[in-house]
Symmetry: C2
């Protein structure tokens, strides 16, 4: 989900249980903080997309942004795991997430300017197997909670892959290029965020005003079928807006296909993160610090981490990019 | 580890806690069963390596063998997880393990004869992200034990990657080819098994007769420093034997490097699987059925799953294969 891009003060849509008194989502001070943070981020992020696309400094700045987000997301998953009594490793999970991100950076066309790098510098199989070995072997030396080491290692690995691949594909998309449209990567990242975010927004409004029929009460008590339809409508409107603005080479088939594809994996991704939080007994992935006024990192990226590889797969196989 | 290849009736070396009365490893009937199974397997496996290398039927037979082994290994990891109170999915874990194996099959040079396939049919990034989505999204619909769904999904994912990548790289090695030595893949798979197995054997004999100084009592009570040295000696002897027989293009540098590399990741892999079993409170990964007379699949592959990608990385980067 993409409160990153959208400075506004509405409560978080859909997936979450109702706010408790302990979570003052509507107070004035929090709203100011929330809007300020979002504005600062939006200015920074849109500038990066507009001016940084296709440049070495832009690639590196995006790498830094993804790297910090991976650290924050792995940290939250680590804390969720600790709350459940396990002992996942923040260090190993973050290091392996960064290693995967590094693969996507180096595998992109010409990360440092014109000349493409050797794709064999850090192929995915090497980053992945080295990372898996690092997590499992590291636990031999550092995991003192031996009676839970099997689930602890598994959660470390899951967090590294969730954040490392999810945000790694964003990096890969940002660094995409095509001959027909300049700054392809920046445009596609904007499309990723807008399609997913308009879906969230559509789900929130349609669900709030028309929601009657529960979708999956056990998985997510507040989700309704009406919200689901609103989500897809938002996704489709978002994809169409992108076609008429920054992605002029898209056809209406692309609009419908991407709206439905990103809408589906985005909503499922949102539900997955909800079930993780619920199993750990928390309502907000932000345990401890988070993005000021915006809760946790996992709540922000839960749809994007699945939508990014789906978008990459679509433009790769259908449009021949990458 | 590779009791596959080595018909003999000795107790399992190194990693395991001392046999309990409930595990009749030394009785005559079990010994006969163990030797018989090993002989049957050795004849089948060596035939496959000798005659099947570089042939379509050989590639498919190896694929079938790896596929069955992935099912067996994921099943044991699933049962370990269930014993600890989690609810990993045997179906999702196996399906994703097979999907990863399919990637390695299709990514190899000319799986069906002379003509190479398009590497874009099933690249690793697609198999991996599709598989991860399959596990997480599937749990939304099928995991009824919602209060443990975070660790359950993590264990499903870990098992799929452990078996799918570990045995997938064996498939990849089997299907390697070079211009200088015929049946490269079959020779390298034999080298993988012999180097790892002679390491196990060396650790067992040196550790049993000379073992005095405990290596890591908390991780594996029976391991000694002397056994560690014996393991490396066995690895080095195995690599040298391979050089003078089936891998004539190896130098002495290759022998030393591969002995140390496979010895290190093999022993660490063995320890990792031991800690998983210990955390689940079992002594033998074979919960329920297993390989007749040989215990569980995980106990057989714990060193190989890490040694296979290490061997592939070595021959890829140093010898330019693949």
């Amino acid at each position: 989900m993409t409160k990153y891009m959208a400075p506004h003060a509405m409560p978080r849509p859909g997936a979450e249980p109702p706010p408790t008194p302990a979570r003052p989502a509507f107070d004035r001070k929090n709203m100011v903080l929330r809007v300020s943070t979002a504005l600062v981020f939006a200015v920074f992020f849109l500038s990066l997309l507009y001016w940084g696309g296709g440049t070495t400094w832009g690639n590196l700045a995006y790498f830094g942004l993804m790297g910090v987000s991976i650290l924050a997301g792995v940290r939250e998953l680590t804390l969720l795991g600790r709350k459940m009594g396990f002992n996942p490793s923040l260090y190993a999970g973050t290091a392996v997430g960064w290693l995967l991100l590094m693969h996507f950076f180096l595998a992109s066309k010409a990360p440092f300017g014109e000349r493409p790098l050797d794709p064999d510098i850090l192929p995915l199989w090497l980053a992945l197997t080295f990372g898996i070995g690092f997590i499992h072997f590291g636990a031999l030396f550092f995991d003192q909670k031996r009676e839970q080491t099997l689930p602890s290692q598994a959660i470390t690995l899951m967090g590294a892959l969730y954040m490392g691949l999810g945000l790694g594909f964003q990096q890969r998309i940002f660094m995409l290029d095509s001959r027909t449209v300049s700054n392809t990567g920046g445009r596609l990242v904007l499309a990723l965020y807008i399609i997913v975010w308009l879906g969230d927004t559509g789900a929130y409004f349609v669900g709030s005003f028309l929601g009657r029929h529960k979708l999956a009460p056990k998985v997510s008590p507040k989700k309704t079928w009406e919200g689901l339809v609103g989500n897809y409508l938002g996704n489709l409107v978002g994809a169409w807006l992108m076609k008429v603005t920054v992605c002029p080479d898209w056809t209406m088939v692309d609009v419908v296909a991407l709206g439905l594809l990103l809408g589906t994996v985005g909503q499922l991704g949102d539900l997955v993160e909800s079930t993780w939080k619920r199993s750990a007994g928390v309502k907000d992935s932000n345990i401890g610090m988070g993005i000021p006024g915006h809760g946790g990192m996992l709540d922000r990226v839960d749809s994007l981490v699945f939508a990014a590889p789906a978008l990459f797969a679509y433009v790769h196989y259908v449009h021949g990019l990458g």
